[in-house]
């Protein structure tokens, strides 16, 4: 008999596949013993793996020695590896109990984990992750046959991954291994992980509580994203029904593709710019050539899945690839935006000390503190932009001062390129992300200093309403139509119009078809969204009459009742 589990859908559609359970806590606690004569060899094996991890860390520390906060962080990691207590306990278990090094490490980790469970201080508690990473790398070294990554050694084709929690890196791994879908028992719809999987059209249902207990390996799974349910072991009737919907949707999508060929003019003849967001440079291949450019390329994924930093040359070749694929259309490259929930692998870690990373060293704040990383990126962008239509977008701007400092750094980068006699563009546009309310309120003034603005609705909503979109307890209060949010968006659009500069919405709202008319009504004429959303949003744009909509928008801005607002929005 089939079982139904409820969850929250990240995108729409139907996904059918076989379940594969991935346990993040993949430390093997199965007992294993050695013979007394092997004690010395086993101890040596353990110490040798410790030594090689230490070597690895020292090497990566050497690579980033100019980045002081990072180097200091690596020091802390080294102290974990050198921990006398940890070593002594494991050697003791090998010698006295004849445990294998692997089992001894697993047991020691278990006891550490238990002690950490009692820790109340959230920040200290989180350091268990560092210890766990070290333990996993140790165990990996001890099983030389075992590879580093959970997702790299298994086939995921036609599989639905069921797991507790998922990182952006995992999403990329699953996508590259052609997994069908993802179900997580925790998480949130608007985390970057969710955005990433939406953009890659990887079906995902989050917060499907107890899914890990109910679903077994190889169970047949139907993910009905439209109704936010998961059907485990469906019967023949259910399976046929959903396969039917799947093929119906497929033909619908085919029809929508025809929409893409049409000019993006509203019913009353106003040209609307429809651009695409880009997460991974590889995605550009799948982009429909009919969009008006790239409105947001999130460069942070260049920095992920690796232990060193991408060089100027490497970045330049990636950006060049994107420009080439887009022909002469504008490409907006956003400078590195790390921090908050965007987990970047070992090469960069911010907010390590910060209790509240969303308010910490992220976006341009990080770039202004780590000038070398930023200048390398800017140089790569300016070089790739030669003879191309380059737009540089700066994330997390809060004040005019930051814009001025950023411009100084860009000028430095240009001077360096001149000295190095490299070809680069001088004809680029510089824009800022509007994510912080302070910035939206000053839009009139800031508009005089930049060439365009791009509204990042997710963060703008989060900062305006003081809602952490990852926190399950309050995520229901995350309300994109809150009058305060809408009036900030309206203000930014008006300020940009006054200064005759471009303004785009590139956050989730731009790709959410229920908000398309609302945004048009607020005066928006440029959208940037994940490519999969373009057909449906464009279809709505083509059938919108902006003059009519504008007359109805004021009532929405004035309404304090969320339900009423949503009703008014759907009637636009």
């Amino acid at each position: 008999m089939s079982i139904i589990i409820k969850g929250l859908s990240v995108s729409t559609g139907i996904c059918i596949g076989k379940a594969i359970l991935i346990s993040k806590d993949d430390i093997n606690y199965a007992p294993s013993f050695i013979k007394k004569s092997q004690v010395k060899i086993e101890t040596k094996r353990f110490l040798k793996s410790l030594a090689s991890i230490k070597e690895e860390y020292k090497k990566s520390k050497e690579k980033i020695k100019d980045n002081l906060p990072m180097a200091k962080l690596m020091d802390t990691q080294l102290f974990f590896i050198e921990d006398q207590d940890f070593q002594a306990h494991i050697i003791e278990m090998i010698e006295n109990n004849l445990y294998t090094a692997n089992w001894a490490i697993a047991i020691e980790y278990k006891s550490i984990k238990k002690s950490f469970d009692d820790i109340k201080d959230k920040y200290i508690k989180e350091r268990l992750i560092d210890i766990k990473q070290m333990v996993i790398s140790l165990l990996d070294l001890l099983h030389s046959d075992k590879k580093e990554d959970i997702y790299s050694k298994i086939s995921l084709e036609n599989k639905v991954v069921v797991t507790d929690e998922i990182t952006p890196k995992d999403v990329i791994d699953i996508y590259q291994k052609q997994g069908s879908g993802v179900i997580t028992s925790h998480g949130s719809k608007s985390s970057h992980t969710a955005i990433l999987s939406k953009s890659l059209s990887l079906p995902m249902i989050v917060k499907a509580e107890s899914s890990k207990e109910i679903i077994h390996n190889n169970d047949d799974i139907i993910m009905d994203l439209d109704n936010e349910i998961i059907i485990v072991n469906p019967d023949q009737f259910e399976l046929e029904y959903f396969e039917g919907i799947q093929s119906h949707r497929y033909s619908l999508q085919k029809n929508l593709r025809k929409v893409l060929k049409k000019k993006s003019l509203t019913d009353d003849g106003i040209k609307i710019n429809i651009m695409s967001n880009l997460e991974l440079s590889d995605e550009v291949k799948f982009l429909n050539s009919d969009c008006d450019g790239i409105g947001l390329y999130r460069t942070e994924y260049l920095y992920m899945n690796r232990s060193d930093l991408p060089s100027e040359k490497e970045q330049m070749s990636v950006y060049t690839k994107v420009f080439k694929a887009m022909k002469n259309k504008p490409v907006t490259l956003r400078t590195l935006d790390i921090g908050s929930d965007k987990e970047v692998s070992e090469n960069i870690k911010v907010g390590d000390i910060a209790k509240n990373p969303a308010l910490g060293l992220r976006g341009i704040r990080y770039s202004l503190a780590e000038k070398n990383i930023f200048q390398t990126q800017i140089k790569a962008m300016l070089r790739a932009g030669y003879n191309n239509s380059l737009r540089i977008l700066i994330p997390m701007i809060t004040s005019l001062n930051e814009i001025i400092k950023t411009k100084e750094l860009i000028n430095n980068a240009k001077l360096e390129l001149k000295k190095e006699r490299k070809k680069f563009t001088n004809k680029y546009e510089l824009g800022i992300m509007i994510e912080v309310p302070a910035c939206a309120l000053q839009a009139d003034e800031l508009a005089k200093h930049v060439d365009f603005m791009s509204i990042g609705t997710n963060d703008l909503i989060q900062y305006t309403l003081a809602i952490d979109r990852i926190d399950d307890e309050v995520s229901s209060l995350y309300d994109p139509t809150n009058p305060a949010v809408l009036s900030l968006i309206k203000k930014v659009i008006e300020s940009c119009n006054k200064s005759s500069i471009d303004v785009t919405v590139c956050g989730e709202m731009a790709g959410e078809k229920s908000y398309t008319k609302l945004l048009l009504g607020l005066g928006l004429e440029s959208f940037s969204m994940h490519p999969q959303a373009i057909p449906e949003v464009k279809d709505i744009i083509l059938n919108s009459n902006i003059n009519k909509i504008k007359k109805k928008v004021n009532a929405i801005l004035k309404s304090n009742d969320r339900l009423l607002r949503e009703k008014l929005i759907s009637n636009l």
Binding site: L73, D121, R127
Partner: protein, 89 residues
């Protein structure tokens, strides 16, 4: 043997980086250095054990130093605590 109660004054408490600093100082000396908070005990050379003390801001830690250089060791540790682990500057 010397023993003293020291208070954690920095905002974030005895977190990873602060603990790393303590381990770094402890490693400079030969004396045995033990930290006790409530019912938990930690060797000052074990960063994991120090973290497990879960010493947030304002908590009091009893420190015992025993060995040839115990006086200098205690002075250094006291200074580290007083300087809030060189944070909150």
């Amino acid at each position: 043997m010397i023993t003293k109660d020291l208070q954690v004054l920095n905002k974030l408490g005895l977190h990873a980086r602060a603990a790393a600093k303590l381990v770094f100082i402890a490693n400079k000396f030969v004396s045995d250095i033990t930290l006790v908070k409530d019912d938990k005990q930690a060797d000052a050379r074990s960063i994991m054990k120090i973290l497990m003390l879960s010493a947030s801001r304002d908590s009091i830690i009893n420190i015992t130093v025993e060995g040839n250089d115990e006086i200098q060791a205690m002075i250094s540790i006291e200074k580290l605590f007083q300087n809030k682990f060189d944070e909150d500057l």
